[in-house]
Symmetry: none
Subunit: 438 residues, 2 copies
């Protein structure tokens, strides 16, 4: 019997010991009866989404875990963000993920005080974004379009002839560091032109935003002003082979964050909507799990559920919030406790985000594969310590889909087809023609 698969990513779920939790990690501190039960009905272990010690980006981590080769199948982060907001990336455009941030001027430099402008959102974010929504650059040769998406996030598109994605990030990725000059990463004239256009956009948008009324008002209210746009992850259009083509599943995705929606779309997964799913710690976790189950009861045999909240708590360096979030997720997992044998659950994160660091780390990420009839280990509950001894051992992100195929009883024997020695071994429909008898 081929199993249906629920693939749950708890963004940033792993952690390091937290002083606020008396040296425990949030997974160790939290009361997680559903996680505990699921762990006993299967195996736990750990995975490095990219490789040991490498802090994964959210996009590369997901691609790698879904079995894509990030050395050749990675268009850049901006591409996924744009897709996630139904913004078409035209051939020749360059698209960036871009935060609204807060900077302070010191001499001739701008230092990043907050990469998220105090997690600006709602009307304030809209007002800021509308002030820089469209702009002509390079004497009219290049058009910049900025679109606000969720909270402090947005995307920036540069349109015009002879542009390319080989430019470095403006966002220094660390608070306290200066905003960076975008540099061409190759010798091509396209890269040079794109870097110049991007620099002009960043300087002009700072000029506009620093004196904007909404930012003055925020400063008066002791809120951080959104006085800069910090672009990163330059990308251009790169169509990926579909998830179905790679692994044979009819897949759906449930995710609120634009990046994750975009990743799902880029793989041809069908996006399903859930009321109250926001990507925030208050998101509707229960609704997501229930929607995932109903999807598996209808036409889908694979559902990817992305839950952003643990990562948000970690980035806020708030382990107690992370414990709360995990306990609410645990409640939401209850409907999974008594699933019949035709269901397989994979539960992991896209990276570890230690609250003590407030950013992604290269630590291993707890992993669980659970379901009725799955071989069981005796490693115990789902936390960083117990997972060391789990039956799944320590694997790489790129191994996950092969393990999913194996434990959902869908894997084909290696070497069956002489010229298809590469992985994976999904026979394409046109390879399986029944012999015709007259």
């Amino acid at each position: 019997m081929q199993r249906k698969v629920m693939f749950i990513i708890l963004d940033g779920v792993g952690d390091r010991p937290c002083t606020e939790l008396n040296g425990l990690t949030p997974l160790q501190k939290a009361d997680l009866p559903s996680f505990d039960f699921l762990a006993t009905r299967g195996m736990i272990g750990r995975q490095y989404p990219i490789a040991p010690g490498i802090p994964p980006g959210s996009d590369t981590a997901h691609l790698s875990m879904f079995g894509y080769d990030i050395s050749t199948e990675y268009p850049g982060r901006g591409y996924f963000e744009a897709l996630g907001w139904d913004i078409e990336v035209e051939e020749g455009c360059v698209v960036f993920r871009a935060n609204l941030g807060t900077v302070e001027r010191r001499g001739h430099r701008l230092f990043v005080k907050d990469r998220r402008a105090g997690r600006i959102s709602g009307k304030d974010a809209e007002s800021v974004a509308s002030a820089i929504a469209e702009m002509d650059l390079m004497e009219g040769e290049v058009r910049a379009i900025f679109r606000h998406t969720l909270e402090h996030r947005g995307i920036l598109i540069l349109k015009g002839p002879d542009l390319g994605p080989e430019v470095s990030d403006v966002d220094p990725h660390e608070e306290g560091y200066p905003v960076l000059e975008p540099r061409p990463l190759t010798a091509s004239p396209k890269a040079k032109k794109t870097a110049l256009a991007l620099k002009e956009f960043v300087l002009r948008s700072h000029e506009i935003l620093k004196d904007l009324e909404v930012n003055r008002e925020r400063t008066r209210s002791d809120l951080l002003p959104a006085n800069i746009v910090l672009p990163r992850g330059a990308a251009s259009k790169l169509p990926l082979p579909s998830f179905k083509e790679k692994w044979g599943f009819e897949a759906a995705a449930i995710a609120a964050g634009p990046l994750y929606r975009g990743i799902a779309k880029s793989m041809g997964m069908k996006l399903l909507e859930v009321e109250g799913a926001t990507g925030l710690p208050t998101s509707n976790f229960k609704g997501k799990i229930e929607r995932g189950l109903s999807a598996l009861e209808s036409e889908f045999d694979f559902v990817f559920i992305h839950i952003k909240a643990p990562d948000v708590a970690s980035h806020m360096k708030n382990p107690k919030l992370k414990v709360e979030v995990l306990e609410r997720i645990d409640d939401a997992l209850e409907p999974l406790l008594d699933l019949p044998e035709e269901y397989l659950l994979l539960l992991t994160g896209d990276h570890t985000t230690p609250c003590s660091l407030g950013k992604h780390s290269g630590d291993p990420v707890p992993l669980m594969i659970s379901g009725k009839g799955i071989p069981e280990d005796d490693a115990g509950r789902f936390d960083e310590l117990r997972c060391i001894r789990g039956g799944l051992g320590t694997v790489l992100g790129k191994d996950l889909m092969r393990l999913v195929l194996n434990y959902s009883n869908r894997a084909l024997e290696y070497g069956l087809r002489p010229t298809s020695m590469e992985l994976p071994y999904i026979p394409k429909a046109d390879q399986l023609i029944p012999l015709h008898i007259n």
Copy 2:
């Protein structure tokens, strides 16, 4: 002191929990005092013959465990089968592994009812095979030769000008599926011609077999008729570097199944015969182990012993038979319990074959390296659960021979020879020229 090595493959030894065994695996259920003792005098662990989650084919698994690179050193399954039966594969021939199977016609398709025709054997199998032993195809341009080997197994050779191995399998590898049309896997005229010849052979042999007297008789006796030949694993001649050249051992092999005999021969191992060794659950396990020991006492320092029976029980979905087989193998291992320090034992499988699936899976395979003076772990007995915690950890098939060299005290330090940084580090005779003094 360099140790001599006994390398025992228990085909399909690993398993998943079996409901017939109250949720235990056959290794957990069986009473295995010899295994248990050997496990305490060394280390246990697990290995993925190919990679995590990939169900290995028997041939690719063995090649990988013997340190061959299956991406470049894999001629196709049929090559090993033919070698195993002393059938010379001439340059330009295409050779297939081919089961006698049972199909049912529905409309213009043939559906596979049993891929092994009820494990047909003996006189029945001989009669069936002799009816299709030789055939002219493609108006006399291609000659087909079918040779029966063991039980339901045989090999098919296509001889003639302009043939090549790039054709897909006729065997769908799953019961209930239609027999497949062989397709050329490249655009070459050779592939196209071979696919046409193969199709003609399959159709004509079905015509002959469906009305054969022995099959009518089998149907009357409620036995499945062998009314089709299901070829797979197209191959052509590909000489491999010898095992001695790769690893420096004088190696012998003890195996009954033609595939394993062929693999041994392809690596230049000397085949040793044992009376009553059949590849069946009733095979003479004791004789094989004793013959292996006597080989190591004479001119060989490496012996590969292949025991097929656990896999046969698993393919029959019979966990109780697997338990019996394992207990009989355990008896046969008794002479190994008190070997002196100059012996090293490696014991593993070529894949896990869960009885619940009845076919190979991509689960890890239990592994043991044992011998006097070998570092010991405290993981306990040799089963799927204990092996998770074993001192060998979880390794890949391609790591095994390096571990063998290491624990047999034969491994050379990495980088010793500036120009031979690749593995293995076996100095070739012509690299060791004594300095000549006048």
